[in-house]
Symmetry: C2
Subunit: 218 residues, 2 copies
DNA sequence: GTCTATAACTAGATAGAC
DNA sequence: GTCTATCTAGTTATAGAC
């Protein structure tokens, strides 16, 4: 066999080094732009070793996505951070500039795989699409409690909609960071949170108004 | 000389065919993923001809960005479309799916160049960053008149902030489209427009309140 | 498990006939 | 201006010594 059989034990030393190297490179070079030779060089191992640990480039990236997602989950599911959106957008500020920022590197990696549609059928991209769905559900679980029950009663999908909006904003600000826009990301993190909040309130008020109208009619 | 000297005359037949081929491929394959051989094949010309018209891949893409931007400007500066943000986001729906959708292909191309930071110094990426700035200013000119004078008096940059937010949203929904999210883009186009609108109203109300307070004090 | 050498292939780019 | 043949360098991936 040309491949280790470990399934899900915690990533051992050299494998982790390879994944970290791949991540560092991928964040600035993308999928095609990252070469196995460079990954090997940066990890301090020869190419042969990289191919001993991972079947091929595709699989290396598929595992990289999983590896990053675990880190991201650990960082973003703690009980401390109450404001997911604000935190995510604020994180975009340095995320794309500093290749060492692992917690946020995942998001950049994700954007790359979202955009590179040529990778249809590619193991890594399929893996990403799975992860994207899982991440979405995690966010829904955290956002839904913040939506008033009266709103959810009328539009049960409203919480999910706010997550879609929040994710679009987060993605958008990562793009802005990648493009080097000189904006105050903290300010926009607040502004974005406020905008979503305003949308929820407006919806609640609208429903309230309808209820009043209905009450008045009866 | 190995290169035509036309500077800014309207793109002649074969050059246009090459640019169109490059665009179609780039939208799904990205910069690295698009090969000169494929561009040649799709344009119906041999590789040699492509290199006669364009010095190299870098310059081909730099001109592609300019070429697309001109089209985008023509599509998005007419007097008809009053709601820029709503229109942009709604456009993202099909933009990433149909490689023939030229008007929106530009935005995908833009995202690719925004993310591919490895291309630092690359002519095409530099060109894109210029275009990004110009596009921003065009949007500011169209959004600023919609912001109440009272708000601009207190925060002259508020219009620009709304454009930053709007662009982030647009970028974000293009990502969603690229990832194949099954969402109702029209609905989110409306929701996004409403969110920005709500933010402006909230700001205006806040300022109004302060003015009243100031009036009461005097 | 690690490392070297190299095979098999594909990329961007050019030379030069027409 | 167009097209073919080809060069060079770099890519993924493997074979096989250690």
């Amino acid at each position: 066999m040309t491949r280790r059989s470990r399934a899900h034990q915690s990533t051992p030393g050299n494998e982790k080094a390879i994944l970290e190297a791949a991540l560092t490179l991928a964040v600035t070079a993308g999928y095609e732009g990252t070469t196995m030779a460079e990954v090997a060089r940066l990890s301090g191992l020869p190419v042969g070793s990289v191919y001993w640990h991972f079947n091929n480039k595709e699989q290396l990236f598929a595992e990289l996505i999983e590896y990053c997602f675990e880190q991201w989950k650990a960082d973003h599911t703690g009980p401390t951070n109450r404001d997911l959106l604000r935190r995510s957008i604020a994180g975009s500020a340095g995320g794309s500039v500093d290749p060492e920022n692992r917690a946020e590197a995942f998001w950049i990696l994700a954007l790359l795989f979202a955009l590179e549609k040529r990778l249809a059928g590619n193991l890594a991209r399929e893996k990403y699409l799975d992860v994207r769905k899982e991440m979405f559900e995690l966010m829904v679980q955290r956002v839904e409690p913040q939506v008033p029950a009266s709103v959810l009663a009328v539009d049960p999908a409203f919480g999910r909609k706010m997550v879609v909006l929040g994710r679009a904003l987060t993605d958008g600000f990562y793009i802005a960071a990648s493009a080097g826009d000189e904006i105050d990301f903290m300010e926009f993190a607040d502004l974005s949170a406020t905008a979503v909040e305003a949308l929820i309130q407006r919806k609640a008020a609208e429903i309230e108004g309808n209820l009043d109208a209905a009450d008045a009619e009866s």
